[in-house]
């Protein structure tokens, strides 16, 4: 067992009377596990954690080709909300939201979940109609949401431009108070530490290069560190899902695209909530370090390069200046891209596959960070019981055959 983090332990360590345990111990792969998770992003690590914690399966390995959290988890703009339109989606994201609310304590690791609220702005009458519809749906589903008008927005965010003469004037917004942001790396590390504390092996620099399937059943994986056996394999490899699926002879209804974000130089805090706008294509929050964290739109072409086009980022900067003209002399410090796996209906796949013992959790596209605990939780149960968790049922991959799609383009769309 690892030592708990507390004021007492910090004091002891500060006085030099205690050494910290390894949060992410270095482990060597064993030859066989009950469950292998491919991908050490937030979702994969959360899956392993809940397998160990809630399903009693601790003989689990998470295989990560690079360093944990180095995929989209460590690249995202960390917006967390649950105000999705469809019942299926909002139930899943709300499940996740509840887990977020107790996550730091559960993991004994401060993931800095900060419920500073999220505004989804509306700039046209149609936007406002959509917002009203979504807020009504949210309320029916027990998700906190309200419609606010531009005056209220101005009161809450005095630096925002609500001028009627703007090219796309702000008319109103939906507001979710429980929504917010969290510290992305902390989420990966917190889950990793808690999972390894329960016996899970977290194996970094270990790339899965093939999946062994015999007579329709999964047998194990080949990796850059050797072969590892397991009867059950969960694939949580986000942008690389199609690549991993191919190893088992499968195709997926996803495509991988670049999604970019950038941060400004750190300034004294001036923006205390999260502001998103689909209409002008940009969203922004200010981190606890003081930098503006800004997310741009997706690039339309397929890519595995973790970089996108300059025009997308520049258009996004223009969009942010539409909302906040005062940021014109603020400077971009760093920009980057992730590889997002997008489903046609903008909803994820959490599902068994045609190969027995092989499960996929993918298609989170531009907005899966908020789902990290919920996704890991329902996926763990799905793997453990070989039966989809109740909340995961609508997200079966068969929906692309049956036609029971869950169109979340309105609420997921460009934004996150």
């Amino acid at each position: 067992m690892q030592k708990k983090y507390s004021w007492y332990s910090l004091l002891k360590a500060g006085l030099g009377n205690q050494e910290w345990d390894q949060a992410i111990p270095l482990s060597k792969p064993k030859s066989k596990y009950d469950v292998i998770i491919i991908g050490g992003g937030g979702h994969g690590l959360a899956t392993a954690y809940y397998l160990a914690k809630e399903c009693g399966i601790t003989n689990v390995a998470v295989l990560e080709k690079g360093y944990i959290g180095g995929g989209n988890t460590g690249r995202n703009t960390t917006i967390i909300r649950s105000n999705y339109l469809r019942d299926e989606a909002s139930s899943l994201y709300e499940h996740s939201m509840r887990l977020w609310e107790g996550l730091s304590e559960d993991l004994n690791f401060n993931v800095m979940f900060s419920q500073r609220g999220v505004y989804n702005l509306g700039h046209t009458l149609q936007d406002m109609r959509d917002i009203e519809r979504r807020v009504n749906a949210n309320v029916l589903n027990g998700v906190d949401a309200v419609v606010v008008d531009h005056k209220e927005i101005k009161e809450q965010i005095p630096i925002i431009n609500t001028s009627k003469n703007a090219r796309y004037p702000i008319m109103g917004a939906s507001f979710q108070a429980r929504a917010g942001v969290a510290r992305h790396d902390g989420v990966a590390w917190g889950f990793a530490r808690a999972a390894s504390n329960l016996g899970v092996d977290i194996i970094q620099n270990c790339e899965v290069i093939d999946i062994e399937v015999e007579e329709g059943k999964v047998k194990g994986v080949k990796t850059t560190l050797g072969d590892i056996m397991a009867d059950r394999v969960g694939c949580v490899s986000a942008g690389h899902s199609s690549v991993v699926a191919k190893m088992a002879g499968l195709r997926l209804p996803v495509e991988s695209h670049p999604l970019q974000a950038f941060v400004s130089e750190a300034m004294k805090p001036i923006l205390h909530t999260v502001v998103m706008s689909n209409a002008v294509h940009g969203y922004v929050s200010q981190s606890d370090k003081g930098d503006l964290v800004i997310g741009a739109g997706i690039d339309g072409y397929n890519s595995y390069a973790q970089r996108g086009s300059a025009k997308i980022v520049e258009h996004c900067a223009a969009a942010i200046l539409e909302l906040f003209p005062i940021f014109s002399r603020v400077r971009m410090n760093r920009q980057w891209g992730g590889i997002v796996d997008v489903c046609p209906d903008a909803c994820p796949v959490i599902s068994p596959t045609k190969v027995e013992g092989l499960y996929f959790n993918c298609g989170w596209g531009t907005g899966g960070f908020k789902a990290t605990p919920g996704s890991g939780n329902v996926f763990a149960h799905t793997i453990a019981q070989d039966k989809q968790h109740e909340l995961a049922v609508p997200f079966h991959i068969d929906r692309f055959t049956s036609g029971a799609l869950i169109d979340e383009h309105g609420a997921a769309g460009v934004a996150h």
């Binding site: 199609s242 195709r251 997926l252 495509e255 072409y301 397929n302 595995y304």
Partner: protein, 94 residues
């Protein structure tokens, strides 16, 4: 930001002028009515999403407005080949 050779305009132009239009060589089934749900779903929704050299379609939106084929690495973004529809490429499916 790519520099793309439009096979119709015969000019290298900035990506700003073009729009990507998805994976290439997805042939529409001749007999939709006869397909099973699985086959139809594979046609509509499933993609190869290849990591490596990948054939895709682009359209010269702010130019000649025509669609054409591009073979591009999804790892390095290098463009290896462009072709108009109907033109022979290194990899036309039969």
């Amino acid at each position: 930001m790519f520099l793309i050779d439009c096979p119709y305009c015969k000019e290298s132009r900035d990506q700003n002028e073009f729009s990507p239009a998805g994976e290439a060589f997805i042939a529409r089934p001749q007999n939709p009515e006869e397909l099973s749900d699985d086959e139809w779903s594979d046609y509509v929704f499933y993609r190869t999403n290849h990591k490596g050299d990948h054939w895709e379609q682009w359209v010269h939106t702010n130019g000649c407005r025509k669609y054409f084929l591009v073979k591009r690495s999804t790892i390095s973004h290098e463009i290896l080949e462009v072709a108009a529809f109907g033109e022979v490429t290194s990899e036309n499916p039969s």
